[in-house]
């Protein structure tokens, strides 16, 4: 059992959890994730380690409520327990030195890009960050990101905050301004990573994405998380989650992420009925 020691709603439907998991915190590195299971009937879902405190023995996760499990999680309170937390899993983010790195976090992707940007900065790289979301209400950690970036750009799809548009627009501006970018790291939805990776291809800029396929064990035992990279099948949980964005078959990933849409909708509906939440606004009550 893993105790929740801190909980905070940091954006619309976006909740930060600080959880006691000393053994995970001890080994966690930027880019890694945990697999959690909430209760006896729960499924196993992966969540990125957005921060960790080795002294306190805690890890921080930022969770966007999208379906049954993340909604159930968002209703837990400080002092409650999560049944299982396993990790840290996946490879740590690849680190570089003496480089100019553009870190892009889209929507919930801001949470996992943060520790990577921080580590890159700590190693003396020049870090330019772009964070974006559909709307201002979904943005978070602007302050944290500013702290670990030499420059920070904020974009929203609807223009409700920062520049109106997508992260890729900001990235293209940076490229055309003549900035000599060594590497771009993108974390966000699969479609956002696809579009943004495409933008750097003509310039031959090394582009890293962190993939989020459906996982079960997270240890290389099931193959649920398989993705095609450079024409080869890889298991994202053990070979990734970071891959070369120019090599990833995003259309396959997008399709695989939809594999259980019907079941997920059913689980969500039954759950929302059960807890008496409003179906249309999907707000956690």
């Amino acid at each position: 059992m893993y105790r929740i020691v801190g909980k905070k709603e940091i954006a619309f439907n976006t909740t930060l959890f600080e959880v006691e998991a000393p053994e995970v915190a001890r080994k966690a590195l930027a880019g890694q994730f945990v697999v959690v299971r909430l209760d006896e009937r729960g499924e196993r879902i992966p969540l990125t380690i957005a921060d960790f405190d080795r002294g306190k023995g805690t890890i921080t996760m930022v969770v966007l409520s999208v379906g049954k499990t993340t909604k159930k999680l968002s209703r837990l309170r400080e002092g409650d327990h999560i049944l299982d937390v396993a990790g840290p899993l996946g490879n740590p983010a690849e680190m570089v030195e003496n480089s100019l790195v553009v870190c892009i976090g889209g929507g919930l992707g801001i949470a996992p890009i943060y520790p990577i940007a921080r580590e890159l900065k700590a190693r003396g790289n020049k870090v330019i960050s772009i964070i974006g979301a559909r709307s201002a209400s979904l943005l978070f950690w602007e302050d944290r990101m500013r702290e670990v970036s030499d420059e920070l750009y904020v974009v929203t799809d609807d223009g409700s905050y920062g520049r109106k548009g997508f992260a890729v627009h900001q990235l293209l501006d940076l490229i055309s301004s003549g900035m000599r970018i060594d590497r771009v790291i993108i974390i966000g939805s699969a479609i956002m990573m696809k579009v943004t990776s495409e933008a750097t291809r003509p310039y031959g800029i090394k582009t890293i994405v962190s993939l989020n396929p459906i996982m079960v064990d997270g240890t290389g035992m099931c193959g649920s998380c398989r993705v095609t990279v450079g024409g080869k099948t890889r298991f994202a949980c053990v070979d990734g989650p970071e891959f070369d964005g120019h090599e990833v078959d995003f259309d396959e990933l997008l399709a695989r992420l939809r594999m259980y849409s019907a079941e997920e909708r059913l689980a969500d509906e039954l759950y929302m009925q059960g807890v008496g939440a409003c179906q249309s606004c999907q707000k956690n009550l």
Partner: protein, 466 residues
């Protein structure tokens, strides 16, 4: 005094075990084989000849004193029977159910020369299931610590044996439930999870601590285990990495490795979705590729999830199937449709990238290969397609490279198995021992247990002579 007439024992007839009828059982996940009643067990036990040099024991990798426990059952002393079994075997209810007895103990039974061998596995199961308050040997702690990686049959056996020798044993298990393949792979209808839980509880009752959610190599490394004061490490992490065929269409939606399919159903209880949260696709027409026990389990599971047709595609003939005979028979009774001498060439999807068909090529058997089995060869131009919405790949597994990668100096061999010395199961790293599927590649419960037993002895010797 008049001499009592000697009881007549008909040794020719092996007492059959009652089973759920096929039409019934394909609709549920309850156990297929129902076990012996007391009378049935006693009658079967009486068939044993109590040979002076019992061959059956040689066939058991953990060396159970078979005639001795069988005699106790014949006498109706069931508690004594299970005590004798547990001297050697810490997981009897499991072995009694899933051991391939026909190629182990029962293969050697002398009765089998003329009639059917003694039903040793069934009797072992009977004794384990009829155990009442659980016999537990006295353990005297020796104050020394050993770590075990993995809680499959190998890990549980090594842990239990070492605990009985007095060691403080901690098992580190990656998943959230102990048991390895026994909980995530072998289906409920062959091995109820409550039975596995009970046997795990027994191992715990010997003082073994099990730490779940500990992925060795990630959460903690083998080097850190030594730093934490463990004097030796036994690695029993199994062969959990699923193989794929590397044919077009293998990443379409609806294609599963058998590991994923079975894990969702067994470990995560997806057969009870949405009551349990993990989803699974319930295919109408399912193709299972492979001819081993895993393929049979996947096929029979798919049937129970409601499939109309389950095709078992295997590239050789029925004779060559590595699956246990009993499993093949059970599968056939349940309506699994065998498509033999066929091999998939590609999987075809629709616009949404869902599986819609599988294309196979016909095979014929050529000359025997290095394994002695006749090698299948393609018949060019013989491709056919079958309409299916789910494909389950059950063509084998190999050891997960995670531990070897995270442990400097741990040598691996072909297909990633850990290299060990014969008999002692010592790896190339001082103080690290290994056994089970991680050493042999995918094998059997009883061979994993046999190796773990030997390794436990070697660990004891190693620590005593340190």
């Amino acid at each position: 005094m008049p001499k009592l007439p000697k009881e007549f024992i008909d040794r020719r007839r092996r007492i059959p075990m009652r089973e759920q009828p096929p039409a019934e059982r394909v609709k549920n996940f309850d156990e297929v084989a129902l076990g012996y009643s007391e009378e049935e067990a006693i009658s079967e036990a009486k068939r044993c000849l109590h040979c002076d040099a019992p061959m059956c024991i040689e066939g058991c990798s953990v060396g159970i004193d078979i005639p001795a426990f069988v005699k106790k059952i014949a006498e109706g002393n069931f508690e004594e029977a299970i005590r004798i079994i547990k001297e050697k075997n810490n997981l009897p209810a499991i072995c009694g159910r899933v051991c391939p007895q026909e190629s182990q103990c029962e293969k050697k039974c002398i009765l089998g020369m003329k009639w059917k061998p003694l039903a040793i596995g069934r009797l072992e199961r009977f004794a384990a299931d009829h155990e009442k308050d659980g016999v537990r040997p006295e353990v005297t702690p020796n104050g020394r610590k050993v770590a075990v990686v993995g809680s499959g049959p190998a890990g549980l056996t090594a842990a239990a044996d070492l605990a009985r020798m007095g060691y403080a044993v901690t098992i580190f298990e990656a998943l959230h439930k102990p048991g390895g393949v026994l909980v995530y792979g072998i289906p409920e209808f062959r091995l109820p999870k409550a039975i596995v839980e009970k046997e795990v509880e027994y191992v715990k009752s010997l003082g073994v601590e099990i730490r779940l959610n500990h992925v060795v190599g990630k959460t903690i490394t083998i080097d850190e285990l030594f730093d934490a004061g463990y004097e030796a490490v036994f690695v029993g992490s199994g062969a959990g990495l699923p193989s794929f065929m590397h044919i077009p269409g293998e990443n379409l939606n609806g294609v599963y490795s058998a590991n994923e399919f079975l894990t969702r159903v067994n470990l995560m209880r997806a057969f009870r979705f949405p009551e349990y949260d993990t989803p699974i696709k319930r295919g109408r027409n399912v193709a299972v590729v492979g001819g081993g026990n895993v393929a049979m389990d996947a096929a029979r599971t798919a049937k129970r999830l409601g499939a109309e047709h389950v095709y078992l595609i295997y590239r050789r003939g029925e004779e060559e199937m590595p699956a246990r005979r009993e499993e093949v028979e059970h599968a056939k009774e349940e309506g699994i449709e065998f498509r033999l001498l066929m091999n998939p060439t590609r999987i075809i999807g629709d616009e949404q990238r869902n599986v819609k068909a599988i294309e196979c090529i016909c095979m014929e058997l050529g000359e025997p290969d290095e394994t002695g089995r006749r090698a299948p060869v393609c018949k060019p131009g013989s491709e056919t397609t079958m309409d299916v919405d789910t494909v389950i790949i059950a063509i084998g597994t190999s050891p997960n490279p995670l531990i070897a990668k995270a442990t400097p100096g741990l040598r691996t061999g072909k297909h990633g198995v850990l290299e060990v010395e014969p008999y002692t199961f010592k790896t190339s790293r001082e103080g690290v021992f290994a056994g089970g599927d991680i050493v042999s590649g995918a094998a059997t419960v009883i061979s994993a247990m046999g190796q773990a037993k030997e390794a436990a002895k070697a660990i004891d010797e190693y620590i005593k002579n340190k």
